[in-house]
Symmetry: C3
Subunit: 134 residues, 3 copies
Amino acid sequence: MRSEVITFRTGNRPVVRDITAEAARFVESEADGLLNVFVPHATAGLAIIETGAGSDEDLLAAIDELLPTQDKWRHRHGSKGHGRDHVLPAWIPPFASLPVIDGRIAFGTWQSICLVDTNGDNPERQVRFTFLPG
Amino acid sequence: MRSEVITFRTGNRPVVRDITAEAARFVESEADGLLNVFVPHATAGLAIIETGAGSDEDLLAAIDELLPTQDKWRHRHGSKGHGRDHVLPAWIPPFASLPVIDGRIAFGTWQSICLVDTNGDNPERQVRFTFLPG
Amino acid sequence: MRSEVITFRTGNRPVVRDITAEAARFVESEADGLLNVFVPHATAGLAIIETGAGSDEDLLAAIDELLPTQDKWRHRHGSKGHGRDHVLPAWIPPFASLPVIDGRIAFGTWQSICLVDTNGDNPERQVRFTFLPG
């Protein structure tokens, strides 16, 4: 097993950050196995979607609609509406497990793995990549 | 590790397709380990639910309500409202990891693993089963 | 690989039950590897969130809003509105995979792993912990 933490700059606005290149690089020297991606934060998740054709913005819009940044949340630390960032990882989980075949993630053509970070209060985020040999 | 891709016919309407039998067959010759199920498509997900008692239709109805096929989506390839199919895998992820004990998936009595495919434009779908020995 | 089922008392109301202590204890004698948590029930899921600062109640409120206990569900066994409990695991999945480094789950500071059980008809729940050495 190999495990590594990589830091990403996500800025101070909600963002869907494509981390496919970093994930691919992490496994490229391996053979077959399982890649586990894990976000060690309580206000971010991971999504495997197509990026660059509008779906990243669509996802942020859907999050705003389904988990709005209103005053209704009990959790009240941080910026207004920040409580919804704490509910997000229940719906968009902070882990993902992906098969690796011959050093390549077995993605479909349009799939990317993305860090979903609606929490503008944390401009930097960590992601842990772990490879289990098969 | 053993990995295999199986093709499922999902037709041209939104569908919850039970793939438990294929998953069970894939691991039945194994001992203990972890089964990873992965859908290499950007518009489908996996759900572990009870099937055959209405919950499969309930899930499709809930998806239509929470992620409606409206014109609001930025992603505009394919049929009308197809943008929501691209947001779906963020909420209903295309991966699942299941413990296998003595060649059997450690499911509860009413659990099935299902391919959730709301995208009628792709009548055939692939699912990759991967087994990691424990 | 090591696998063990632990029973939790969840009572007869919807609950977010922190199971971090049991998960941590399960891996503390191990070195590096992957922890798989799996709920063998069709009406419960797992969430990795912060607990104790309101987000557990926020999550239950969000579930009530997005998947309300109305009469609309086709699945009609059990208490009124129970159909939504059967849709829940599609959105809040009953599995999670977490990296373990030197006998400790590689959580972030505010992360806990929780059993999300909206089904008051089942006062006891099982959770299976499985450790795959790295």
